[in-house]
């Protein structure tokens, strides 16, 4: 026992000596990294909370109790509650088709799924204005003297349904900017897992749904949760795209980020930071959950390897 341990230990000690830096260099690198991160990440985070409570907890609660703030919070939740499940279903479908089957044009499809990430948020808003706005595709059509489907134009007008500068536009823009999140986590994961387990389940007589619920879903649950967490964070925090389509009517079409902007433009800095602290808190929860999910995933992988 002992001799084996020493022979294994010796090269290890040599390895550490020849493939590591002198302590001074190590210390300097750690210091540079920590100073950089404190300045860019830690300081802004602390600053948000300090500013939020600059006028005391009473003022903080007052800001959040304001009807406009409350309506912004509700609208933000509405957008996230719509966008996250839809993009979740999309992500699972896209990953199933791409990872479990072979077809031509797969790489093009993968690039198309990533597209919303490379489009500026302002342009993401602009495209919906171009489709649904008064001068847009649908708008021109609805306002035409002789529409082809008068019932549609009448129905939309009768029910006073507006898309741009109203809630549906905000929800649509939020969906657009968060399309890739779940798909992006699931596709590489399901590709790596292959299709053997599902094929075995099918051969043993499981139906398609049974295969998905009992075999695929347990395998991808951590990846799915990871994607949902990131998707939700972006959905609740989206600013640029929503800013274009919202019209920024206080108490009606302002989300939390837009309400922050409105308060900031009013020079109500403490109020703006009070609202911002809600989103900063959400960001911290997101980071915490993300780390926890990564840990759970690592644990699951270790169990699978040891089995």
């Amino acid at each position: 026992m002992t001799p084996v341990a020493t022979t294994f230990h010796m090269p290890h000690a040599v390895h550490r000596h020849t493939t590591s830096e002198p302590p001074a260099v190590r210390g300097a690198l750690i210091a540079v990294a920590l100073v950089f991160l404190s300045l860019f990440l830690f300081l802004p985070l602390v600053f948000v909370f300090v500013q939020a409570f600059a006028k005391g907890i009473g003022y903080y609660l007052e800001t959040l109790h304001d009807p406009n703030a409350w309506s912004a919070i509700k609208l933000t939740f509405l957008a996230a509650v719509t966008a996250v499940p839809l993009n979740c279903i999309f992500g699972v479908c896209a990953a199933w088709a791409i990872a479990k089957f072979d077809f031509r044009g797969k790489n093009i499809l993968l690039t198309l799924i990533d597209l919303p990430f490379s489009v500026s948020p302002v342009i993401a808003g602009l495209i919906y204005v171009l489709v649904f706005g008064a001068q847009g595709w649908l708008g021109l059509y609805l306002n035409a003297d002789n529409p082809q489907f008068p019932w549609l134009a009448n129905w939309l007008n009768d029910h006073n349904i507006k898309i741009i500068f109203a809630v549906p536009g905000i929800v649509l823009a939020t969906i657009f900017v968060t399309v890739p999140f779940v798909a992006r986590e699931l596709i590489p994961l399901m590709q790596a897992q292959g299709r053997n387990e599902e094929e075995a389940a099918r051969v043993l007589g499981a139906s398609g749904w049974q295969t998905f619920w009992r075999v695929t879903l347990p395998n991808i649950k951590w990846g799915l949760l990871y994607g949902v967490i990131l998707c939700n964070a972006r959905a609740m925090g989206e600013f640029g795209a929503v800013s274009v389509v919202s019209g920024k009517i206080r108490g009606q079409t302002n989300t939390i980020p837009l309400h922050i902007e409105a308060l900031y433009d009013d020079y109500n800095f403490t109020g703006a930071f009070a609202m911002a602290s809600l989103l900063a808190f959400l960001a911290l929860i997101t980071l915490g959950l993300k780390t926890w999910v990564e840990h759970q995933n690592a644990v699951q992988n270790e169990i699978e390897i040891s089995q």
Partner: protein, 283 residues
Amino acid sequence: MAKRLSRPKKIRVLPGFKLTLGFTLFYLGLIVLIPLAAVFWKTSTLTWPQFWQTITMPTAMASYRLTFGASFCAALVNVVFGLIVAWVLVRYEFFGKKIVDALVDLPFALPTAVAGITLAALYSEHGWVGQLLTPLGIKVANTQLGIFIALTFIGLPFIVRTVQPILEDLDPELEEAASSLGANRWQVFSRVILPMLTPALLTGFALAFARALGEYGSVIFIAGNIPMKTQITPVIIMGELDMFDYGKATAIAVVMLVVSFVLLLSINVLQWWTNRYNTHNLA
């Protein structure tokens, strides 16, 4: 032909191909592709001289220079500091490492508007950082330096998160071999480690650069949006939209979209290169 017929027909054991692919294409088409096509439809209502005049107007040209320059510098600074952060997180042990590792993703998780007002207030003349810089004659708020700082904040995680996994998987035997052949630590780093990290660094750089080009929320508060000086391209688009000049807004959007598509394509090529490099190393 005969060969083709004689090949056994592939049997799909798993169900749902048509359903899932159909839904994927339908959803992408409805949410992403048709609305994006509207940009090109709207541009086609402009004549060629109108389009050219819009995209080359002086405020737009100044905004391209600023957006590209600031994004490039920010991504470059992030390559250096991102590499140091990734290196420290992978190779060294220190107190609070796990928290630091989790915090690196803050720019992904923190909404851009929050980052925007926070950086603007921190670097304003009376802010925590601004009041230290003012006596030195450095002005950050309402300057191009401010834009650079906001874009550096936004881009940091891209470099760290692309380099980190590659650094973790590096085979220590390569470094041992190099040092046993007489290379000093710096030579091992610059001649052995750095070349293996280059594809990942380039990918991270491209991702951070692409993100910075389109960034809006975190920049507008600190930038002050002074025409010809601190107006980034998305702000120009926003300005045209506020005046309901959708044609002009769309023309500039087309320029940005074309640049983004080219970048997206090069990122995909780079990532393919990174993966090949990586699997090659593992093999």
